[in-house]
């Protein structure tokens, strides 16, 4: 049952993204930014964590999860360190993803030559 909900929730988020592309005619950058912000707002309202509990990877894999992680890190450090935690905590949870993006991009650039 968990797999089914993961599929439906993850697919539903992707469907929203595709509709933003095809119907609202947003650019890929606008679509991505909108989904990240939506994830951040959802976490601010306390809605995203319950969604992750409910749908697992269906909620953590889409880009909305990145917005959720940004807010989540900031809020948890806010509790621990006070207001400075909002700044230090933003990349607390997301640092693994960002570092991986940089490292794998570097490794890819070593073996292939992008002509862009």
């Amino acid at each position: 049952m968990q797999y089914l909900w993961a599929f439906l929730v993850g697919g539903g988020i992707c469907l929203i993204g595709q509709l933003l592309f095809d119907v609202a005619k947003l650019t890929p950058a606008h679509t991505m930014a909108l989904l990240v912000v939506a994830g951040a707002v959802a976490d601010g309202l306390g809605l995203y964590e319950p969604l992750i509990k409910f749908a697992g990877a269906g909620a953590t894999v889409p880009i909305t999860s990145f917005g959720n992680a940004l807010v989540h890190g900031a809020l948890s450090e806010l509790k621990r360190d006070g207001w400075i935690g909002v700044i230090t905590g933003i990349f607390e949870v997301t640092s693994a993803g960002i570092s991986a993006a940089i490292i794998f991009s570097f490794l890819a650039a070593l073996v292939v030559k992008p002509k862009g």
Binding site: F21, D22, K25, P28, P114, K115, G116
Partner: protein
């Protein structure tokens, strides 16, 4: 020479003495492959960047046109060219290699007929005996220029078009054998408010209609006077729109054959080219390769090539502006 509002009728029509057409692998897999002078098996053309590859295509097309005409490069008195890249670098750098006096023009995908019209005007006016018109486009440079780098792998909607990789050059001269350029109609900017750069065909269709009607009116002709009227790159979305608009305006297009280069260059049903071909080279290689060959074989006597262009820039698009479009028509007779 000027007839009606915006048509040049050449009293001694310049002759297209030779052409050169070079294309990439997708065009080589299309139905017109046999009509091109050179088909490259890959998009790199042995060059380290896409921009250099496009430049190489333009240089090869010019060389082929010059050698077929039996002309040394120095004998070509003017080179009129343009392309889709910022500051029309493909044409300019090819002109650097070529060494002829050079006029750079930009009409986006209408550059093919814009440059042919200007080259013909130079010859017909007596400003020169021999001029070359040339244009090029490359799928990967155009995607990067106007949309996203190909490596980014962005999704394209079915209304999008596939930029032709290729280059076409035509040498027009006062004397010689070959099809003659009898008239040219200069387009006006038409902008009906379309903003989507993935739907250029629909944006350009009204410009093509405007120029076709302007040409027929200036010349006092009807579509039946042409064996073929062909638009540049309206493709699967834009061409039916143009046909509908012409029908609504009471232009009897059923008396001629009305086609589109963007739908002719690829097998649109089988090749993954979305709505069809686009780019400066689309109308250039189809006209200079396929259509002129059919004229020489006697299948076509008089044709009208209406090259269409979307005159947007990435900046104007990002700032939410609509797409100004244009179409230039050149009448060629066997």
């Amino acid at each position: 020479m000027r007839q009606g509002e915006r048509t040049w009728v050449f009293p001694t029509p310049p002759v297209i003495v030779s052409t050169g057409t070079v294309v990439g692998p997708d065009e080589g897999a299309g139905p017109l492959a046999a009509d091109f002078d050179l088909v490259h098996p890959d998009l790199e053309i042995g060059q380290p960047s896409w921009e250099k590859a496009e430049r190489a295509l333009m240089e090869q097309a010019s060389d082929i046109a010059a050698s077929k005409a039996g002309l040394a490069k120095g004998q070509i008195q003017y080179y009129v060219g343009g392309d889709l890249l910022n500051q029309i670098i493909s044409s300019t750098f090819a002109a650097r290699t070529f060494g002829a006096p050079y006029l750079g023009v930009f009409g986006a995908c209408s550059t093919s007929m814009e440059s042919l019209a200007i080259a013909s005007l130079i010859v017909a006016s007596g400003a020169g005996d021999c001029a070359m018109a040339g244009t090029s486009s490359h799928n990967c440079t155009a995607e990067k220029q106007f949309r996203y780098p190909t490596e980014y792998g962005s999704q394209k909607p079915p209304t999008a078009q596939y930029t032709v990789t290729g280059a076409g050059a035509a040498i027009v001269a006062r004397h010689g054998d070959g099809p003659r350029v009898t008239a040219a109609t200069i387009g006006k900017i038409v902008d009906l408010g379309i903003k989507d750069p993935f739907n250029m065909g629909a944006a350009m269709a009204p410009a093509a209609v405007d120029t076709i009607q302007g040409h027929l009116q200036d010349m006092g002709r009807e579509p039946g006077d042409y064996d073929l009227i062909v638009t540049g790159d309206l493709a699967g979305v834009g061409h039916p729109i143009a046909a509908d608009l012409l029908q609504r305006n009471g232009v009897p297009m059923e008396r001629t054959t009305f086609r589109d280069c963007g739908l002719m260059i690829y097998d649109v049903a089988k090749q993954k080219v979305q709505a069809g071909g686009s780019g400066c080279a689309c109308s250039a290689v189809v006209a200079y390769g396929h259509l002129l060959k059919r004229m020489k074989q006697g299948e076509l006597k008089r044709i009208l090539v209406v090259a269409t262009g979307s005159l947007l820039s990435p900046l104007s698009y990002q700032q939410g502006e609509t797409i100004p479009c244009i179409a230039h028509a050149v009448s060629i007779e066997a």
